[in-house]
C-alpha cells in the first residue's frame, strides 16, 4: 500500500497508473488500451476474464485498477468481480453503499489475498452500451452489488478514463487515513483535492455511484486495516479459491443450508485434500458477507424504514413528540414514497409512487428520512447524524447519495438514526457493517475530513438527479417538520413553496402535520424563526461550546465549510443559524432553512468535526431537546426550499455558515466516540443536504472559503 500511496503522490501521477483492461471484444479492447495510454497509464490488456484473473493472482503483477467488461463469454464480468472481491482487496468493488459495506467485510476476510493484491486499487466495470434503461439500471446495480466501484458506459469516452485514477487516490487516502489516525490539516487538504477531482470525473458516471465509491473506499480502508492487522497472521500457505473450488464450496453450503453450514461439515462435503477447516471457515465468512451484501441490495423493504424509525423515535423523549410526528409523516410517506424510495434505492422501479426515482433519488429519500429521524430524535439524532456525516466525509471522497444512505445507516445504528437505516432495508445489514467501517474512519479523523471534502464534491453531481427525490424527501421532511411545527415556527418552512408540489403530494400522504408545512411554504419562515429562536436559545447555550470547536473545524475543513458558506450566502442569516445545528440553536432562528443547512453543515462539519463532535455532542444534548425540534422543522423547511430549486441553493448557502462547522470540529477533536456520534449526525444531516444541496453546497465547500 505504501508504495501505491507514494506513487500516487508523485508529481507525474496519475501517469503510470497501472491499469488492467479486460474485454473480450478486440475492437473495444484496443480502443480502451489506446485511450488509457493516451492518458499515460500503464496498460495491460486481456480479452479473457480467466487470464485476467490469473494475472491478478500473480504476485508479480501489480495493478492499480481493473477495468472489466461485463459481458464476456468465458466468465462474465460479475463473476470476475465476485472472484476479485473474494480473493483480493480491490478498491474497486462497489459503488453502492451497501456494497461498500460488504466490500469492507470482504477485505477483512480476504486478508491473505489482499496482501498480495493490495496494490490493486480498483475494479471498474465497463458496461456495454445500454440496451434499455431497465437493462442498464439492472446491470449497473448488479455491478455495484458485485463490488464494482464505478462503471463506464460504452462507447467509453476518454474523458471518463482520465478520471479513473480518482478511485486509486481514494483508496489510498483511505489507507492513509488508517495509517495516520491523527487528523492533520494536511490530510484533510489532500482528501479534499481528490474529492474535487472526483467530481469532475463523475461526468461520465452518475453522481450517485461516486458516493458509493467513497463509501467503498472507506470500507476499503477499514478492510485494509484489517488486512494489515491480519497480515502478520495471515501469511500462511494460501488457498486459492478457484472458480471450481468456490463452486464446490457453494454447493456444499447449499446442501447444508446457509444457516446450518459450518466449516467442518462443509469441509467433509467438499472433500478436497489440503483444504483445512480454517480455510473453509475463512471463506465461509467471506461468503456470508457476500451474501449479505447481495441481500442487502435486494432487500430494501420499506418496513425497515417504518419500524426502525418508530422505534428510535419512541425512545426520544421530549423530542419524541416531534419525532412521532415525523414518524407519522414518514409513515405516511412510507406507504407511498417510502416504498418507492426503497424500491428506488434498490434500483427497482418504484411501483408505488411511480415516481421514477433514480437510485440516487432513493438515496436522497433515505437521507431525508434520516433527517426526519434526526429531527425527531432531536439532539440525539443530531449526534448520530454528526457521526454519520463524519464517517461519510472521511470515508469517501465519493460520498454520494449512496454514501449518504450509508451514513444514514450508520446514524441509525448509532441511535434513533438506526431507524432510518433500517428503512434502507437490506442495506441495514450492510449498513451496520458500514457503520462499523465508518466508525473506523472517524478515528482517523483526518481521513474523514478528507473524504468529507470529496463527498461534498460528489454530492453536487448527484444532486441534480436527486433533486426530484429531494423534493419528495423535502416533502417528507416537511411533514415531519410540520408535526414539529405544531409549534408554529415550522410554518416558516413552507417557504419552500416552490418545492411545494412535491411536498404537497407527500403531505397528502403524510398526515396533516406535515402539511402545515405546506402552508409553510410561505417562507414566512420568519415567524417560525421566532419560535425557533426560542429553541435556538437553548441551542445557543450548547453552541457556545460548539463555537470553539467550529473554529477548529474551520481551519481543518475550511474547504467544505467554505462551499457551504458560499451557498449560504444566498440564504443569508438563516442558513447560518441552521447550519450550526449545533448551531442549530442559533440557527434555529433562521430555522427552517437552517435545518437543512444544519444537517448539511453538520455533515460537512462532521467530516471535519469528526473529532470535535465529542464536545459538540455534549452541547448538543443539552440544547438538543429544543434544538432538535427546531432542526426537524428546519429540515422540513430546507427540504421545501430544496424542492424549490432556489431554496436548495439557499440551504446550501446557509450551510456555509462556518459556525456549524466549527462546532463539529471541536467535537471531533474531543473524542472519538463523540466524533463517531457526531459523524453519524452529520451524516444524517448530510444525507438530506446531499439531496437538496449536495450539488451546490458541496462544491462550494470544496472550493474555497
Amino acid at each position: 500500500m505504501s508504495t501505491a500511496s507514494s506513487s500516487v503522490v508523485s508529481d507525474q501521477f496519475p501517469a503510470g497508473l497501472r491499469v488492467l483492461v479486460v474485454d473480450d471484444d478486440l475492437t473495444c479492447l484496443m480502443i480502451l488500451e489506446r485511450m488509457l495510454r493516451t492518458c499515460l497509464y500503464e496498460v495491460t490488456k486481456s480479452n479473457r476474464a480467466e487470464l485476467a484473473l490469473d494475472m491478478l493472482r500473480d504476485k508479480r503483477n501489480i495493478f492499480d485498477i481493473v477495468i472489466s467488461d461485463v459481458h464476456m463469454p468465458d466468465m462474465d464480468g460479475f463473476k470476475l468481480l465476485e472472484q476479485v472481491g473474494l480473493e483480493m482487496d480491490l478498491p474497486v468493488i462497489s459503488k453502492y453503499p451497501i456494497l461498500v459495506t460488504l466490500r469492507r467485510i470482504f477485505t477483512s476476510l480476504n486478508l491473505n489475498l489482499l496482501l498480495n493484491f493490495d496494490l490493486v486499487r480498483s475494479l471498474i466495470c465497463v458496461i456495454r452500451a445500454v440496451m434499455s434503461a431497465d437493462d442498464s439500471k439492472h446491470v449497473v446495480m448488479k455491478s455495484v452489488t458485485h463490488g464494482a466501484c464505478d462503471y463506464l458506459i460504452k462507447p467509453v469516452r476518454i474523458e471518463a478514463l482520465k478520471n479513473i485514477w480518482q478511485h486509486v487516490v481514494r483508496k489510498k487516502k483511505n489507507e492513509w487515513k488508517e495509517i495516520e489516525q491523527s487528523g492533520s490539516v494536511d490530510e484533510g487538504d489532500r482528501q479534499q483535492k481528490p474529492s474535487e477531482d472526483v467530481d469532475y470525473s463523475s461526468s461520465a458516471n452518475e453522481g450517485n455511484w461516486r458516493s458509493s465509491k467513497r463509501r467503498k473506499d472507506e470500507e476499503d480502508e477499514a478492510d485494509d486495516r484489517d488486512d494489515r492487522d491480519d497480515s502478520s497472521t495471515l501469511k500462511k500457505p494460501q488457498v486459492v479459491w478457484s472458480v471450481e473450488l468456490h463452486q464446490q464450496f457453494v454447493a456444499a453450503v447449499n446442501q447444508l443450508g446457509i444457516d446450518k453450514a459450518v466449516p467442518k461439515k462443509i469441509l467433509e462435503l467438499m472433500n478436497v485434500p489440503g483444504l483445512t477447516r480454517e480455510n473453509v471457515a475463512s471463506h465461509l465468512q467471506k461468503y456470508r458477507l457476500y451474501l449479505r451484501r447481495l441481500s442487502g441490495v435486494s432487500q430494501h423493504p420499506g418496513n425497515s424504514f417504518m419500524s426502525p424509525q418508530d422505534a428510535s423515535y419512541g425512545p426520544l423523549s421530549s423530542l419524541n413528540g416531534l419525532d412521532l410526528q415525523t414518524f407519522a409523516a414518514t409513515g405516511h410517506i412510507p406507504a407511498q414514497s417510502l416504498a418507492t424510495l426503497q424500491a428506488a434505492g434498490l434500483s427497482r422501479s418504484t411501483a408505488k409512487s411511480g415516481i421514477p426515482m433514480p437510485l440516487v433519488e432513493q438515496r436522497n429519500l433515505f437521507s431525508f428520512d434520516n433527517a426526519k429521524l434526526r429531527f425527531g430524535d432531536g439532539q440525539p439524532q443530531h449526534m448520530n447524524n454528526g457521526k454519520q456525516m463524519n464517517l461519510l466525509h472521511g470515508i469517501p471522497t465519493n460520498m454520494e447519495p449512496k454514501q449518504l444512505v450509508n451514513l444514514h445507516h450508520s446514524a441509525q445504528s448509532l441511535g434513533g438514526m438506526n431507524m432510518q437505516v433500517s428503512p434502507h432495508g437490506g442495506h441495514n445489514g450492510q449498513s451496520s457493517s458500514l457503520l462499523m467501517q465508518m466508525s473506523q474512519p472517524q478515528a482517523r479523523g483526518q481521513i474523514l475530513n478528507e473524504t468529507a471534502g470529496g463527498q461534498v464534491a460528489r454530492l453536487p453531481t448527484s444532486t441534480g438527479q436527486p433533486i426530484l427525490s429531494n423534493g419528495i424527501a423535502g416533502g417528507v421532511l416537511t411533514r415531519s417538520g410540520i408535526g414539529e411545527n405544531g409549534r408554529a415556527g415550522y410554518n416558516q418552512v413552507p417557504q419552500t413553496s416552490s418545492m411545494l408540489n412535491f411536498p404537497l403530494n407527500h403531505a397528502a400522504e403524510l398526515p396533516g402535520n406535515s402539511f402545515p408545512l405546506g402552508s409553510t411554504p410561505g417562507i414566512s419562515a420568519l415567524p417560525a424563526k421566532g419560535g425557533f429562536h426560542e429553541d435556538a436559545n437553548s441551542d445557543i447555550k450548547g453552541s457556545a461550546g460548539f463555537i470553539a470547536s467550529y473554529d477548529i473545524f474551520n481551519d481543518l475543513q475550511q474547504h467544505k465549510p467554505n462551499g457551504w458558506e458560499l451557498q449560504n450566502v444566498g440564504v443569508g442569516l438563516t442558513f447560518d443559524a441552521s447550519q450550526h445545528s449545533n448551531s442549530l440553536r442559533s440557527n434555529i432562528d433562521v430555522a427552517p432553512s437552517v435545518l437543512i443547512n444544519q444537517s448539511y453543515s453538520s455533515g460537512q462539519r462532521n467530516g471535519q468535526n469528526g473529532n470535535a463532535s465529542v464536545t459538540g455532542k455534549a452541547i448538543f444534548s443539552v440544547g438538543e431537546g429544543t434544538e432538535h425540534r427546531n432542526n426537524g422543522q428546519n429540515v422540513g423547511h430546507h427540504m421545501n426550499n430544496l424542492l424549490g430549486d432556489n431554496s436548495m441553493r439557499i440551504k446550501t448557502e446557509r450551510v456555509p455558515d462556518t459556525s456549524f462547522q466549527p462546532a463539529l470540529f471541536p467535537q471531533h477533536f474531543g473524542q472519538e466516540d463523540l466524533m463517531s456520534a457526531l459523524l453519524k449526525q452529520q451524516q444524517d444531516g448530510i444525507g438530506p443536504a446531499e439531496n437538496e444541496f449536495d450539488f451546490d453546497g458541496y462544491p462550494l465547500d470544496n472550493i474555497p472559503v
Partner: protein, 142 residues
Amino acid sequence: MDRNHPQHQVLYMRRSLFDQGYIDREQFIQLEELQDDANPNFAEEIVTLFYTDSARLIQNIEQILVNKPIDFARLDDILHQFKGSSSSIGAKKVKEACTQLREYCCAENAEGCMRTLQVVKQEYAVLKRKLETYFQMVRQVG
C-alpha cells in the same frame, strides 16, 4: 480553396459520412484524436480490426439463425458484442440495425431476425466500402 484538392476531398468525404449518418461524429473524432506520431493510423487500424473481428460475429449470427431451434440467448450475446464494437468505432447505422435485430431476438422473432440481419449486413458492407475509400484518401493526403 480548390475543391478538388485532395485534402479538401478528404474533409468533404468525412463530413458526408457524418452528415449521412453512417458514422457517429463524436465517437469517430475520439478515435482520430487517439492518433499521434506513434500511432498515426490508429483510426484506420481500429476500423480494420473491427471488420476482421465482426466478420466472425456475423458468421456466427448466420449459423445460429440457420440452426433450429434458434438459440436466442446465444444470439443475444453475440449481438450485444457486435453492438458494442460497432458503437465503439462509431458505426452508427450498423449499430442501429443491430439494435433492431436485437429487439427481434428478444422477441424471439426468427423471421424478423433473418430480415434484419440482411439490413445489418448491408449497412456493414456499405460502411466498409465507404471507410475503405475514405482511409485510402487519407493515406494519399498523408
